[in-house]
C-alpha cells in the first residue's frame, strides 16, 4: 500500500480536503497532532527520501518561525488578555503566545500534508489522472505536458543563448546596471523563443492528429482501486483524529476570521 502508487487525483483531493478541514480550527494541539501523524504516514506508507524531505521542509520551518515572530511583534490584543511580558512597544500576552504558536504549527501541518503529495507523485501521472478521473480536457492537459517538456529544454536554451552571446562576441557584464540589462537581454529572447516554439509545437500536435477530443484511448491507464479510497480515508482520518483528540483535551477552538 504505497502512497507513491496511490491515484494522484484522489490523493490531491484528500489532501486539499484535509487542509481545508484543518483551517477551520485554530489551536496548538490540532495542527501539532496532525503534523506528527502525517510525517509518520509519509515515511511508513510512502517511498520518500528523508534528505529530500528535510530539504523541502526547511523553508517551511523558516516560514513558520516568521509567522510566530510576526504574530508576536504585531499581535492582536483583545481586552482581558493576560500580559506575560512587556518590553518597550512589544507586549506578549498568554493568549497572543498561544495564537502565534498555533499559527506556526498550522503552517507546519499544512506543509507536511503538502510534502506528502509533492514527494510521492509523478507529475505526468498526475496530469493523466486529472484527465482520466476528473475529466480535465485533453486539450489543456496535453498543452500543459507540452509546456512541461519545455523545462529541460529551457535550461539548455538558457545555456545556448549564453553560449550564442559568447560565441558572437558579446562582452561579460560587470556592473549592476549591465547585469540588469543582461537579464533583459536573455529573458525576453528566452520567452520569445519559448512562444515561437509553443506555436510550432501546437502545429506538430495537430500534424499528429491531436484534436483535444475528450474521449481518448489512453496508453497508460491510471486506475482507481479500493486501496486508493482506503488511503484517502487514512489521510482525512488523520485530521479527524487530531481534531477529536484536541477536543477531548479541551483545546479545540474554531478559527474566527474576524478582524
Amino acid at each position: 500500500m504505497l502512497l507513491n502508487e496511490m491515484n494522484p487525483s484522489i490523493k490531491a483531493l484528500s489532501i486539499v480536503v484535509g487542509i481545508l478541514m484543518l483551517s477551520f480550527f485554530f489551536d496548538p494541539v490540532t495542527p501539532l497532532l496532525s503534523f506528527l501523524l502525517t510525517i509518520a504516514i509519509t515515511f511508513i506508507f510512502g517511498k520518500v527520501s528523508f534528505k529530500k524531505w528535510i530539504f523541502l521542509f526547511l523553508p517551511f520551518l523558516f516560514m513558520a518561525v516568521v509567522y510566530v515572530w510576526s504574530a508576536l511583534l504585531f499581535p492582536r490584543v483583545d481586552p482581558g488578555d493576560h500580559i506575560l511580558w512587556e518590553w518597550q512597544f512589544i507586549t506578549v500576552t498568554e493568549e497572543g503566545l498561544e495564537r502565534s504558536i498555533s499559527l506556526g504549527l498550522r503552517v507546519l501541518s499544512f506543509a507536511s500534508l503538502s510534502l506528502l503529495f509533492a514527494l510521492t507523485t509523478n507529475p505526468i501521472h498526475f496530469l493523466l489522472s486529472l484527465m482520466q478521473q476528473c475529466r480535465l480536457s485533453p486539450k489543456i492537459a496535453y498543452s500543459i505536458m507540452a509546456g512541461y517538456q519545455f523545462l529541460p529544454l529551457m535550461k539548455e536554451e538558457m545555456e545556448i543563448i549564453r553560449g550564442a552571446h559568447r560565441v558572437r562576441g558579446a562582452g561579460r557584464s560587470h556592473t549592476l546596471s549591465d547585469k540588469i540589462k543582461q537579464i533583459k537581454k536573455y529573458a525576453i529572447p528566452l520567452l520569445a523563443s519559448g512562444i515561437r516554439k509553443a506555436e510550432r509545437t501546437a502545429i506538430a500536435m495537430e500534424s499528429k492528429g491531436f484534436t483535444g477530443e475528450p474521449n481518448r484511448e489512453f496508453y497508460k491507464v491510471i486506475p482507481v482501486t479500493k486501496k486508493d479510497w482506503l488511503l484517502s480515508c487514512m489521510l482525512i482520518g488523520v485530521v479527524i483524529l487530531s481534531v477529536y483528540v484536541s477536543f477531548k483535551l479541551g483545546h479545540l477552538s474554531l478559527y474566527r476570521g474576524e478582524l
Partner: protein
C-alpha cells in the same frame, strides 16, 4: 470554456504558465529573504509577481478565461515541479486568477488598456488576500498590521503584475514573436504608422 480557443493559443498559454511557474518558485526564495528582513509583510512586497502570468496571458491572448487558466496552470506546474505548498496551491492559483479575470470580465474582455491591466493586478491582490486571511490565520495579527499588509499587496499587484506584465508583453511583441496574436498586430500597426509619420 475552451470552445473557441485554438490549440495554438492553449499551448502558448501553457508555455507562459510553465515559464512563470518556474519564476514563481524562484521568487518564493526571494520572498523568504524579504520575510526574514521585514517580517510577514515581506511577502506582500513582491506578491504581485505571483499574478503576472494572468495579466500577460490575458493581454496576449485576449479571450475569456485566459487569466484564470494561466494562473491555475502556473500553480499546477509549481506543484508538479515539487513546490511543497502542494495541491492547495492550485486552489490559490484559481482564486488569484479569478481576481484578475473579474477585471477583464468587467470590460467584457474588450479593453486591455493599461488601467484595466493594473485593475486586474489589484483584483488578484484582493482575492488572494481574502484567501490568505482565511487560510493563513491572519486574525492572530493586529488589525493595523493586516491593513498595512493589504495596502502593500494592492500596490504590489498594481505594479509588479499590472505594469511589469504590460512592459514584458510589449517587449515580447516587439520581437515579432506575437505576430499571430492581436497584440502583435497592434504593435506592427503602431510601427507602420510611426514609419509613415517619420
Amino acid at each position: 470554456m475552451l470552445g473557441n480557443w485554438k490549440l495554438r493559443e492553449v499551448v502558448v498559454m501553457s508555455v507562459l504558465a510553465v515559464v512563470f511557474g518556474v519564476i514563481y518558485l524562484l521568487f518564493l526564495q526571494l520572498g523568504n529573504v524579504l520575510v526574514g528582513m521585514f517580517g510577514l509583510i515581506g511577502y506582500d512586497l513582491i506578491f504581485g509577481i505571483w499574478f503576472i502570468v494572468s495579466i500577460i496571458a490575458a493581454y496576449i491572448i485576449r479571450k475569456p478565461g485566459a487569466a484564470v487558466m494561466s494562473e491555475t496552470i502556473a500553480a499546477a506546474i509549481e506543484v508538479m515541479l515539487g513546490n511543497a505548498v502542494g495541491p492547495r496551491l492550485i486552489l490559490a492559483g484559481i482564486i488569484q486568477g479569478l481576481g484578475a479575470e473579474a477585471a477583464f470580465a468587467a470590460t467584457r474582455w474588450k479593453n486591455y488598456s493599461l488601467w484595466v491591466l493594473v485593475a486586474a493586478g489589484m483584483g488578484s491582490s484582493v482575492t488572494s488576500f481574502v484567501w490568505g486571511y482565511f487560510l493563513g490565520g491572519f486574525s492572530a495579527l493586529s488589525p493595523g498590521y493586516v491593513t498595512a499588509m493589504f495596502i502593500v499587496r494592492l500596490a504590489s499587484g498594481a505594479i509588479l503584475a499590472g505594469l511589469l506584465g504590460k512592459y514584458i508583453s510589449d517587449s515580447l511583441a516587439r520581437t515579432g514573436a506575437l505576430n499571430s496574436f492581436p497584440i502583435g498586430k497592434e504593435v506592427r500597426k503602431a510601427k507602420q504608422n510611426h514609419e509613415i509619420s517619420a
